[in-house]
Symmetry: C2
Subunit: 295 residues, 2 copies
């Protein structure tokens, strides 16, 4: 841990993980900590959100001092610590936040609102903070932002506002197909082949209606022709991301905000259909967003 | 059990179930029996296929007499009793069968070959028998046959031959999404709404590339507007079958071979896009097919 004074604590509390950063006034990260106490793990045992948080950040707290703790993500969902309302598009990201009372006197804990779209119905919790971070480093940005993941988001930003967005269940469907469907016998557990991935992307973009058939073809090709497991895994990943791209109209310049692995995957998918993108690290954008409303 | 003499035994041995019928020379079904000893259950414990079969059909066997037993389905797959080769399209259904030696002297056991297509790679095991049954009752049939299920098949029949076919993982993906994905919180466990189903079918047919987004919209609509669980289940089922229909080119008159529930579902989906169909019961087609090569 750096010797600088910790000014506030940033918390990215998603479905699966709890990530915390101790931040100095300069914005420098003094320390970080992470646990598997995501929203789902705590909700499933009706556990105590405050204990999970304080256990992780205890070393950063000082008796008699109250430190701001700014959180985003599924911690504000219906099954989270407190259900925090949604802001409604069109709106700036992080329009509002909700202060949550705590037993621990050393923290002043707030959760940023998620964002909803009424028609077509859609919701986000956490991504709005990354978008806020993007606007803090590029205030004049306008265009399309992709936030790939379990549930990928495609967001249109105009005039500093989230104008509209769409969520695709791409990552979740990939995991279900790879681990639970008949394709589990066909796909390698990991590994990636760039050329097979690009083939999958092109098929997905060109003929999205063939998706449920092309999945089974991977199984049949493995049975009949010994299709390699890494090739099958890469093709399936490409088919799914390609199908997603075919659903996003008018894709041209895109900003990708994602973890390095996911960003690389989507960069390759966009390259396969001739679209350029600029990558921003999702951790950096989250920190920039969480700190934005603070000072 | 009828008093008529049992002439042969029909066996439909799929991934999940083992179904047997005792048949008289006239074709009359004298008796039937069923167990959950499908291919997967036996393969998973490296069990004994012959014991599972003989346990079920023992009451129909007579000392000193050998009775033909004709089987189709996944019992002939790599993890089945014996791996039986595939016939290759274009071919008549049930071109060949493989006799399997047994310890039990009272049965003469054969498994019909599955059918494969080299490009695009595809396979079937069991459906070829239903197609053979269709051709036994309608020898001049030409056109498109749909066999809905966990893995739906669309088959083109020309001049008594299986000309080509495509498999769609529609039923399996529906079950994964309904039971294992984030949509499990949104979907009712059963129930069906005709109008929501038709809405889903039309969306699936018109914009298959939006599928991964439309799935998430069901979740968002439930969160924001209290979308009913039966409506969500019906829409998801429609979206998937609609996507399948968008992948099958030039759908006009269709023969549907399926269990009553599945056939009704696909009949409604086809009606939603203005396509007529004729339904044949899959049990009847299986029996007609299994008996076809016997006498």
């Amino acid at each position: 841990m750096s010797e600088k004074t910790i000014e506030w604590i940033a918390v990215d509390w998603g479905t699966t993980n709890l990530r915390c950063w101790a931040i100095a006034r300069s914005g420098e990260v003094c320390d970080q900590a992470e646990s598997n106490q995501g929203m789902a793990a705590i909700a499933s045992v009706k556990g105590d959100f405050e204990s999970a948080l304080v256990t992780l950040i205890q070393p950063w707290l000082k008796d008699g001092q109250t430190i701001p703790v700014m959180a985003c993500g599924m911690v504000g969902a219906r099954n989270g610590w407190v259900e925090v309302p949604y802001d409604t598009v069109p709106c700036p990201p992080q329009t509002s936040r909700t202060r949550v009372p705590t037993r621990c006197g050393e923290i002043d804990f707030s959760i940023y609102s998620g964002v909803k779209q009424v028609s077509p119905a859609d919701v986000m919790r956490g991504e709005e903070t990354q978008l806020s971070g993007l606007l803090s480093v590029a205030p004049d940005f306008e265009g399309l932002v992709c936030l790939p993941g379990t549930h990928s988001k495609w967001v249109t930003i105009k005039g500093g506002l989230i104008h509209g967005f769409r969520t695709f269940m791409t990552g979740e469907v990939f995991a279900l197909l790879a681990e639970q469907s008949v394709l589990r016998h066909t796909l390698a557990a990991d590994g990636w082949d760039e050329s097979d991935f690009a083939t999958g992307v092109k098929s997905g973009v060109d003929s999205p209606g063939d998706f449920l058939n092309q999945c089974f073809c991977l199984r049949a090709e493995a049975l009949l022709e010994g299709l390699d497991g890494v090739a099958a895994r890469s093709r399936l990943s490409g088919l799914l991301i390609g199908q997603e791209l075919s659903g996003v109209k008018d894709v041209s310049d895109v900003v990708l905000i994602g973890a390095p692995h996911m960003a690389k995957l989507y960069e390759a998918a966009l390259a396969a259909v001739g679209v350029k993108c600029q990558i921003r690290d999702c951790g950096e954008m989250t920190l920039a967003g969480l700190g934005r409303g603070l000072f």
